[in-house]
Amino acid sequence: MAAFCKGRYRFRKTVFGHILSRNLAGKYDYDLVVVGGGSGGLACSKEAAQLGKRVAVLDYVEPSPKGTKWGLGGTCVNVGCIPKKLMHQSALLGGAVKDAAKYGWSIPDKVSHDWTSMSSAVQNHVKSLNWGHRVQLQDKKVKYLNLKGRLMDEHTIVGTNRAGKETVLTAENIVIATGGRPKYPAHIPGAMEHGITSDDIFWMNKSPGKTLVVGASYVALECAGFLTGIGLDTTIMVRSIALRGFDQQMAGLVTAHMASHGTQFLWRCIPKKVEKLPSGALQVTWADTNSQCEEQATFDTVLWAVGRAPETRSLNLEGVGVAHNKDTGKIIVTEDEATSVEHIYAIGDIGEGRPELTPTAIKAGRLLARRLAGISSELMNYHNVPTTVFTPLEYGCVGLSEEEAERRHGKDGIEVYHAFYKPLEFTVAERDASQCYIKVVCKRDGDRRILGLHFTGPSAGEVVQGFALGFQCGATYSDLLATVGIHPTCAEELTKLHITKRSGLDATVTGC
């Protein structure tokens, strides 16, 4: 049960309060003020403005401990999805260039990668997105303020600029969409002074060099993945398991692929301290729980990917009575995205129990704007959300993991169809396809409804997106079999699944 943290002002939600706010309607500076200009905040504010509301959005980036900062657009645009996918692409292209030789191209023996060329191209694209958002806000008549927002009461926000000057804004409704920031393991000496996070890696102008990535989240795996792919000596240190919360068999395939393609793994190791040597290199000391020994090695860069914390510290949630989870720090929200304080809502990563994904934040933001404008009562559907991990071997999925399906329906209540397949493109390129795998978890009885769908392989995101539609429509195993495949593709293997885990038969796809 989540630990609540209630503020002093919960009693304010009285009838008197209602009457007072109704009388004050029209006397607010804005109909809606959104705190946070990321995926959720921008979508919400633009939708509200389009519906004729007077809207302001406050966006402010507190520089990272290393001093990195960025423009409008939030995590996704600046230090998340966008630069990540571009750098992942950069790494994939390195692999493609090597394959090209087998396909008849004459490629020089030594193909090298220049970090600075890649990062400046990526940063230029991100900056064009910052500008694009600025133009859109201006165009849609959303007031943009580069201020750090703090709640005063359910209708008042104080915005502070970089110089410390304060501006007071009043609004009929407030939406908090401040997202999260990477955590530092503050208890590890040297962690903050010498290490960086995902906030910094994409903005580095010179190569991170030999890198240690600490963590086993998708952020850790994706970063370690592209760093390895562009030719850097990369090690990943995992305390226990990788991709916690994801299907563990699939997580194993993802990490096995990374390990056999150049990423060094330090399993069950815990960092103890980070020291800077006179040469400038970083010496990391860690405890190897397998051998019970202490180990040491030097790296040029240490990247912490040990989790993200909600950006609520300076919001004054307690002062206004916005209930939040004491452990996670996230804001408790209802299915309406409402908080414990009337007129204050929260969307995106900041909400307790919400997926930390851009598309859900955007959709929730738009639906909320429509509900606040009174033109709709549609709530955000957080079920059946597909997602993809952009590791060197991509992993896309929708629905339940096999473990979760077993928990809910029992091992005897599910049927798992699976196949190891080989992408056609891998044949000539002589690429290892050992971890290319598909798994569809179905209910064993009735129409064998699909409970979860999992795919590792090239362009996993593109493949799973289409199947997510089927999933949303309640597709069954029979629907899958009734679907004709497109040949030759990897995706068609889903329509041909027939070996069950239960049978114990070899699941390797043979021939056409």
């Binding site: 230029n124 500008w131 600025r134 133009v135 201006q138 165009d139």
Partner: protein, 142 residues
Amino acid sequence: MPVALLNMTQYEEVKVRGYDEFCKAVSERTGKDIFAYFSGDKDAQGVSWCPDCVKAEPVVRGELAHLPEGSVFVYCQVGDRPYFIANDSLFPHNSWKDPNNEFKKVLKLSGVPTLLRYGTPQKLVEEECFKPELVRMMFTED
């Protein structure tokens, strides 16, 4: 008492025609904040073949007072539009419709009018140039 309107030139305006002249003007002003406005050529009567450019120019000129101190405003005519549609090789070198023209290939201009801040991703294209608030935003923000 009447107030005299002073022409406060806090920016430099440079008029160029064609890609080579544009490059020369920019290379002579390295380190400066350069705003470039690209328009279709004007005829002898001073009217451009590009109707959007005709519409946008007064809007852009109306906001020039907001240019940052010490910046440069380059007014660049990009070329003429041929009056026939034919194959690439028949297009004169400085024709706007020629897909090989350097404005499109090197500066990545997709159309005229375009207002951009040189060396940054900040740009306003076509109808965006009709909006004074957008022009002012580009001139006044970082």
